[in-house]
């Protein structure tokens, strides 16, 4: 689903990645791991097409991301950022409903089918009871779940998440990773998330993507622990 074909990335004048390749499949949960400043967020931004590669090609479902319109991409890939959404008077249900944007008309009118999909997405993340609560009243973990529900409502085969466990307490981190595992397998989605949380992530993942010394390396989950240990010298 996500194909990195010999890509190079730069942040300003600084080279982040040079000639990295990897291939992620449908139904695969993959953790993107690397030290601060190695370019995890930059890579994610390149995959959603908000940053051009300086060389090489990123393909989503076989299509070059550089040639896809924002509208077309919105049906292929959804994104969950680290930003916390705190807006008065905005109900969780309405936040999830924005995931339907690629499918609704010019004024964003929801049909019955859209409302059903929103309800289903809230159930998937166990947040149906929060539908009519304001997003501003939620805890970080709850808010994160709502944003994942939003990504599910977008019905894309690929989901990217930027540090979904960052602000969560320890039990919620494990829960979050298990939720992502379940979604990848039950709904056959390709899910890539960046994280520093190796303890919570590795047991749930199918593979890891390591960024080190401007290279990208896909490591099977069985070897991940050893490789990470030797890489980070821990």
């Amino acid at each position: 689903m996500i194909e990195l074909d010999n890509i190079s990335l730069a942040y300003g004048s600084r080279t982040i990645i040079e000639g990295g390749s990897a291939h992620l499949l449908r139904g695969e949960l993959c953790a993107l791991i690397g030290r601060n400043g190695t370019g995890k967020s930059t890579l994610l931004r390149a995959i959603i097409g908000h940053l051009r590669t300086t060389a090489g090609t990123i393909r989503l479902d076989g299509r070059d991301v550089a040639t896809l319109s924002d509208e077309r991409k919105a049906r292929l890939i959804s994104f969950v950022s680290t930003e916390r959404i705190r807006i008065d008077n905005l109900l969780c249900e309405d936040v999830v409903a924005t995931g339907r944007a690629p499918y609704t008309n010019w004024i964003g009118q929801m049909q019955d089918a859209d409302r059903e999909i929103v309800g289903e997405a809230l159930r998937e993340v166990g947040m149906e009871a929060f539908a009519h609560r304001s997003i501003a009243t939620l805890s970080d973990g709850e808010c994160q779940r709502i944003m994942i529900a939003r990504a599910l409502a977008q019905q894309t085969p690929i989901i990217l998440l930027d540090e979904p466990t960052a602000f969560l307490d320890i039990p919620t981190r494990f829960e979050m990773c298990r939720l992502l595992h379940r979604l990848a397998h039950e709904q056959q989605k390709c899910i890539l998330f960046s994280t520093h949380d190796i303890d919570a992530a590795l047991p749930a993942c199918d593979s890891t993507l390591l960024i080190e010394k401007q290279g990208i390396r896909k490591v099977a989950i069985e070897q991940a622990k050893e490789v990470i240990a030797s890489l980070f010298g821990i």
Partner: protein
Amino acid sequence: MQRRHNILFTLLTLALLSLLVCDIAVGSVAISLHEVLSALVGGEVSESVRSIVLDIRLVKGIVALLAGAALSASGLQMQTLFHNPLAGPYILGVSAGASFGVALFLLGAPLLGLSASWLSVGTAGAAWIGAAAVLFIIIALSRRIKDIMVILILGMMFSSALGAVVEIMQYLSDEASLKSFVVWTMGSLGDITYSQLALLAPLILAGILLAVATVKPMNLLLLGETYARTSGINLSRTRALTLISTTLLAGTVTAFCGPIGFVGIAAPHLARMLFRSADHRILLPASIIVGGVMMLLGDIISKLLLLPINTITALMGIPIVIYIVTRNRKLVQ
């Protein structure tokens, strides 16, 4: 929620219409509400009353209503676009651009030897061109600059620079031009005729239609630009449409009425508080009506106290803005 919204829309529309009637009744010649209504529906009133109501005050009332509506619609768009609750229609230098145009025109007018009627048309035209020029420079820059905060800062700096140039021009100008310029900066709803209204109304309507066309992207922008883009929104097109809409709304109002502060910042906040919604499909019409109500109220007070409209709207709007800031809750991401 739906019911609350319907009730509020009905009440606010009634308030708007009654204030319009009151606004027509108030003035240097007092006219009773009964006479105003008769004149409006074509009943029996004296010829002089009919003429005051229909030829003079109705235009003023409609202008007040349209100005309030336009500034508030533009303020709502700017607050969402810049993720900033203190943004308003003038944040990008619309009023600075308009002031620059007017200052240039008023200083040059004595040289051209224009008559009084041409003076008011020329002032409006110069203000409009000044405002539009500033916004088009910003639209052009915003296609190259990704970060919306940089655009905001550029707009504010640009507007301060123009303000400084205008001050130099004031310093160098003669007394008569200086006075006409200062009077213009105080704002006025009074000098507009039907023929000018025929120009003002369609421009504002076009701006509001553009605002309606962008409600879906505006709703998505609440979550931030990354979410908006990954939801399939064309960001640069949305920005351009919103800025063109603000040119039409705020630029036109400023051109005809002078800079009118705080209505555009305060009305969207009042709309949010009353309707308890973040949905632009509700907030846009709500802001438009609340803006009209505020402006009519301001006009009535300004006529009763014989003070310039700009001072009244500032004194009305500032407490609302202070309340919003001290309440310290995030309205947009």
